[in-house]
Symmetry: C2
Subunit: 187 residues, 2 copies
DNA sequence: TTCATTACAGAACAAATTGTTCACTTTCAT
DNA sequence: ATGAAAGTGAACAATTTGTTCTGTAATGAA
């Protein structure tokens, strides 16, 4: 990819993230994005078809990394590692979020964070689903599998939302502990 | 309130709900709303300042009823009634939703359902909070109270989302049973 | 370094949307 | 019946969107 393209793409992403931290997604105009990114109007539309397209591209870029990283972790350890805490996939995810690559925390705590958490949850559900199939520890409960998957992934993103909205006054390790406390008893 | 106002307001609400079942909130224009509602442009703006204002008014109208009804239920029975199922506030809420007053189910299963569930969750959190204060059954756990409240309300709306997205192939009683299975063990 | 390719800038453009205003008509409550 | 309140419909400026164009500058390969 041309260096110019990389630079432009990154400028637009950064401008977009900055604006998202200031106002609602719906209220952001393409004009504001290109002003902040300092790129021409036609340039924007050569990179992205619409504002929604930009949003989608941003989500894919950000959560692609995180989820694939988590996927590796899951392969070696399972969803929860048997026994002690630190290798939990969920803890791994939380730590990864706290590292704040690409300013992802700005997105998860902004006014439109729902959009990103929804995207995150969908990816997370798929991850958990594959894990459930190999694990089967839940069969003895008479709860529908897709209900359980939805509950786990949903609870996780709701926790992340609570975490970020409250200025993140907890460590990933504490959160992981809380999450285990409310999910392990039901598996 | 004048009959004309009632009629106009209801027309706009219905048109809005219909459109929400067809396309994303962001993509709906005021022009489409007034065409569908068959009211004049100036009339719309006499009732609502903006589209966002309409959304807020709709939420207040719909969830106002449901939540106040649940509030009464909570006062007499507590969050979960001691012992047997049918008086559970959550079951009551689900039954209320299934009655589909004002076509609320169309909103909870539409593309923009997040918006409504978010509003619903905020109201629900307040309800649960007051209940927790009087109940205190969770003090022995070392989980932050606001984390627990967020977890309960969050799990509930995620369940409702799962329910509606899956064409509601479950009864409120079944859902209540599932919900108890994943929340009672942690209280 | 040269040079063809590719990306960007910037302006202009039509179309759509928003929110306001105003003169007019209809409906309501008494 | 009549004044008051509500709705109509058209017109309006101001934004916003997405496209198209010409000219300029950066890139990467030979």
């Amino acid at each position: 990819m041309d260096r110019r393209q990389q630079k432009t793409r990154k400028s637009i992403f950064n401008a977009f993230i900055l604006l998202l931290s200031q106002k609602n997604y719906n209220k952001i105009t393409v004009q504001e994005i290109i002003d902040e990114a300092n790129v021409g109007r036609s340039t924007f539309y050569e990179h992205f078809e619409t504002k929604d397209d930009l949003l989608k591209a941003l989500c894919e870029e950000l959560f692609g990394h995180i989820l694939s990283s988590a996927m590796d972790c899951t392969h070696t350890h399972g969803l929860y590692s048997n026994g002690s805490a630190p290798e939990s996939v969920f803890c791994h995810l939380l730590q990864h979020l706290q590292e704040n690559d690409n300013n992802i925390l700005a997105l998860l705590s902004c006014e439109s964070s729902d959009i990103f958490l929804r995207y995150f949850k969908d990816s997370l559900s798929q991850l958990i689903k594959t894990q459930f199939i190999t694990q089967n520890s839940h069969i003895n409960k008479n709860l529908p599998e897709d209900f359980l998957i939805n509950h786990i992934s949903g609870s996780f993103v709701e926790m992340v939302l609570w975490w970020t909205k409250g200025q993140m006054k907890h460590t990933p390790e504490e959160l992981d502990c809380y999450f285990r406390a409310v999910t392990e008893p039901i598996l």
